[in-house]
Symmetry: C2
Subunit: 256 residues, 2 copies
């Protein structure tokens, strides 16, 4: 039986989603908690890696289990032994062909910025500080150019291991509330470090240090060195993973 978990975590204390040899990853903590609950080895598969320090509100992972297990028990039993900065928010039984990564059709990310040189400790762990306000109209113009299928080589961290640098961006948006800026992006997939490189480069557009047209040029497969810096990990949150309908097993009369 295939189970899907929706997870949220504060990435501050983790080396990212994926298991590492010499640092604690979210995947490892989740597997340990599931193994404690289910009393057997469990291997979970995530919808995608998040880098060290990146947060998640709706990371998705799946695992296989020979016997059925009640969904509420799965949620609460796993949370009982997870550290408080990782939480299972939902559990569902999926059909056998569901795979958290391979079945995913799109992902959305958000990036938080605050136009202030000095952040409140209530914001600092989740947002990048900007010494001066950005030009919102320029940010929106440049971000609109990202929509569509492009070669994102200029925005991929080296060592990402991708074969094809093309990805399709479905939507972008920038919202300002007082000194707070929120960037949202939805795409069918993202290269390693891509959202943070996009944000770091868009900031230069918002600062007037790079033209909107330069973004169009970067999307024609320019090397990473032509784009801006990688924005810090702690401003980034994986918000949601989207799947096609029909992969969930319809609820039976009983609790799972």
């Amino acid at each position: 039986m295939v189970y899907r978990l929706i997870l949220s975590y504060n990435g501050a204390n983790y080396a990212g989603w994926q298991r590492q040899n010499n640092a604690v990853a979210v995947q490892q903590r989740l597997e340990e908690s599931l193994e404690r609950l289910l009393v057997r080895p469990v291997r979970v598969h995530g919808a995608g890696r998040t880098d060290a320090g990146v947060h998640a509100r709706g990371q998705v992972a799946h695992f296989d289990l020979a016997d059925p297990f009640p969904l509420q028990g799965l949620i609460h039993g796993t949370n009982r032994s997870l550290p408080p900065d990782i939480r299972v928010l939902a559990a569902e039984r999926m059909c056998a062909r569901f795979h958290a990564q391979k079945s995913a059709r799109a992902k959305s990310y958000s990036y938080r910025l605050i136009e202030s040189p000095l952040l409140s400790p209530l914001d600092a762990p989740y947002a990048m500080a900007l010494p001066r306000p950005l030009d919102l109209a320029a940010l929106r113009q440049a971000s609109a150019l990202l929509v569509g299928r492009h070669d994102f080589t200029a925005f991929a961290l080296a060592g990402g291991g991708h074969r094809d640098p093309h990805r399709r961006i479905l939507a972008t948006s920038w919202n300002r509330q007082g000194s707070r800026l929120l960037f949202r992006v939805v795409g069918d997939g993202f290269l390693r470090g891509m959202v943070r490189s996009l944000v770091g480069t868009l900031i230069e557009v918002g600062q007037g240090r790079r033209t909107v047209e330069n973004i169009r040029w970067l999307l024609s497969g320019e090397p990473r060195s032509q784009a801006g810096p990688t924005a810090p990990a702690h401003g980034l949150t994986l918000e949601r993973v989207f799947y096609p309908p029909g992969l969930r097993v319809a609820r039976q009369g009983h609790a799972w």
Copy 2:
């Protein structure tokens, strides 16, 4: 010379604002950092206590200093030795009669609630979880009754040490965004534990377990036992302290 600091802190790791004998308070950490910077004993006076676990975005404190000190140096020098969950956001020179507590005319607080039994680790440190949605119209009706001068005995924690239980509430508001509820209240002063007791009691109105009219009755000096529970500290934030104009020393030509 009197200096005013505006402070923000995450209250999670502190026994509240006020110095304690056997637990670390924000006041103590701030005094230690100022003493390290100024190399003399410093006693700061806060606009008001915040209880253990309560957050602040705009706590205000003042202290006296015989010699002038550059404001930017005060901000950055203090922050250098403060723990990252406390930050000085601003510093100003005030006229000699300024007193952070006695000069304050009003304070505003916010309280965050999320209508979900299970919170993301990104929200859990700052919001109270509600298993079921509340009746927003009832919350608004009941909160409107708070505005004006009332006897808030029913909402004061025992041991608050107040002489007069009357306070004037200037404004209240409730906002919902998805599953998030934000309560804001501005008043000329608050008894100990008052905002949290108000929230705990208003929640019962929002759950249909207490009538709007009951709130009116509580405001006639009923005992604490008649009101609802005290909502958890971590949902509460001291947002801002208001002062009359004219207490600030006009900026001189130099840096302080």
